[in-house]
């Protein structure tokens, strides 16, 4: 509930989603509220460089093994922007590794994803740096 005012306080910053699955994209957009979605990770990198989003959410399934490269590029371009990862249960070890590499947090489908709004709210309020969410 308090997420909206916090987001407005941050300015007009949106959450940037990297997700190709239409259904999952709709779910994330419903959870996050104001979101900018990109089906292409390359386009997302450019958007992060130019628009400084509030947070970046990566759907691990759509990155096709480039997750570490993508995370490194995002961290290098916007170190202050938290990067969250959404993973299938079988990809949880990989997601955990990404958190070690600098991702802010990860969410395991299907139920853990509902923790995302609260996490974003906390991050917006506290201005958390990546890796401090958990």
């Amino acid at each position: 509930m308090s997420a909206a005012p916090a987001t407005r306080a941050e300015g007009d910053r949106r959450v940037l989603l990297v997700c190709r699955s239409a259904g999952r994209r709709a779910l994330l957009a419903r959870l996050v509220g104001s979101a900018e979605t990109h089906a292409s990770a390359v386009e997302a990198v450019l958007a992060v460089l130019r628009r400084r989003p509030q947070a970046v959410i990566l759907n691990l399934e759509d990155i096709e093994g480039r997750e570490r490269d993508l995370l490194a590029a995002l961290r290098r371009s916007r170190p202050e922007t938290p990067v969250y990862v959404i993973a299938q249960p079988e990809d949880e070890p990989l997601a955990r590794g990404l958190v070690r590499d600098g991702a802010a947090d990860y969410f395991v489908l299907p139920t853990d994803i509902y923790r995302l709004p609260r996490t974003l709210e906390k991050a917006a309020l506290a201005g958390l740096r990546p890796g401090e969410a958990r």
Partner: protein, 315 residues
């Protein structure tokens, strides 16, 4: 981290050097060869290992980063052998965001299809071997000092000279990418044998397709080819001898004369008038030529024929 990003080297003192970005896999002998070739050619190249870093570097170069002045990349060389489906999105993105940057895709011999994909998605130049890259890089070096004007300057002046003087058609494959605008610089150097094909095809089509412009040039060769057999004596004879042709001589002459003219005439056929006769239907033109040739071969007996006919008829 697997990413090994070499920071863009500062611009050379004085004139700005070519700013080149190389997207290459982290460990690849072929990519090493390419990078060595670029270095040997004197290209100021920064190497990144994935498309994400390529976007970051391109954006930083275009907008300036850490106090460095903004200077858009002039060339981006992308090794596509290791590219996945999503990686190819780099090409349309770069084409859209930095249209002034020349995009060169490189593929190993076994990855020709990836080169074609890159071409379809926006690569200006596709190279298929390290040697081609080195040669292409060498062609860039002389223009390194003029890199900034080249993307804009050649685009405008290319048009005016092209119209007044359309005759000079030979664009050197390796050097073209430097000056040509991104959209017009499509050159598939990997298919080196193709340009010669393209050059040979029009030669074959010239007699048929462009009759007007090439008419004066193409006409002379065919004429002498056709005339030699009958020209010696048949030039005046055919009209007169026509009535006399049918009888005996054709039986001996057809085997020698007819085969030559019909075979040579179609390719070298005179564009304006003869073309319509030879192309649509060989039989009609062939009949005439056959008659002429028959007469031409009989020309040895031209006087004899006259004499013979006259004497025979008169007699």
């Amino acid at each position: 981290m697997r990413t090994s990003v070499a920071p863009l080297s500062p611009p050379s003192s004085g004139t700005q050097a070519a700013t080149c970005l190389l997207v290459r896999p982290a460990a690849s002998a072929m990519s090493d060869a390419i990078q060595d070739g670029l270095r040997a050619a004197g290209l100021d190249a920064a190497a990144v290992s994935n498309v994400f870093d390529a976007v970051v570097e391109a954006e930083h170069a275009a907008r300036g980063h850490h106090g460095s002045p903004a200077r858009a990349l002039t060339q981006t060389i992308v090794c596509v052998d290791h590219f996945g489906q999503q990686d190819f999105r780099l090409f349309p993105l770069m084409r859209r965001e930095w249209p002034e940057t020349l995009i060169v895709a490189f593929h190993s011999p076994g990855f020709d299809y990836k080169g074609r994909l890159a071409e379809l998605l926006g690569a200006d130049v596709v190279l298929g071997s390290a040697a081609d890259v080195a040669e292409w890089a060498k062609s860039l070096v002389p223009a390194a000092g003029e890199i900034q004007p080249t993307p804009t300057a050649p685009a405008a002046p290319v048009e005016p000279p092209a119209r007044p003087a359309p005759e000079p058609p030979p664009p050197p494959p390796p050097s073209a990418p430097t000056g040509l605008p991104p959209s017009a610089a499509y050159q598939y150097l990997a298919r080196a044998p193709e340009p010669p094909r393209a050059a040979t095809e029009p030669v074959q089509e010239r007699p048929s397709a462009p009759p007007h412009p090439t008419a004066p040039e193409s006409a002379p060769p065919p004429a002498p080819v056709r005339q030699p057999p009958p020209a010696q004596a048949s030039s005046a004879a055919p009209t007169e001898v026509k009535p006399a042709a049918p009888p005996a001589p054709p039986s001996e002459s057809p085997p020698t004369a007819p085969p030559a003219p019909p075979s040579e005439s179609p390719p070298a056929a005179a564009p304006p008038a003869a073309q319509s006769k030879t192309r649509p239907g060989e039989p009609p033109a062939g009949d005439e030529w056959v008659e002429g040739n028959v007469i031409g071969t009989v020309e040895l007996t031209d006087e004899e024929l006259r004499l013979l006919l006259g004497e025979e008829e008169g007699a």
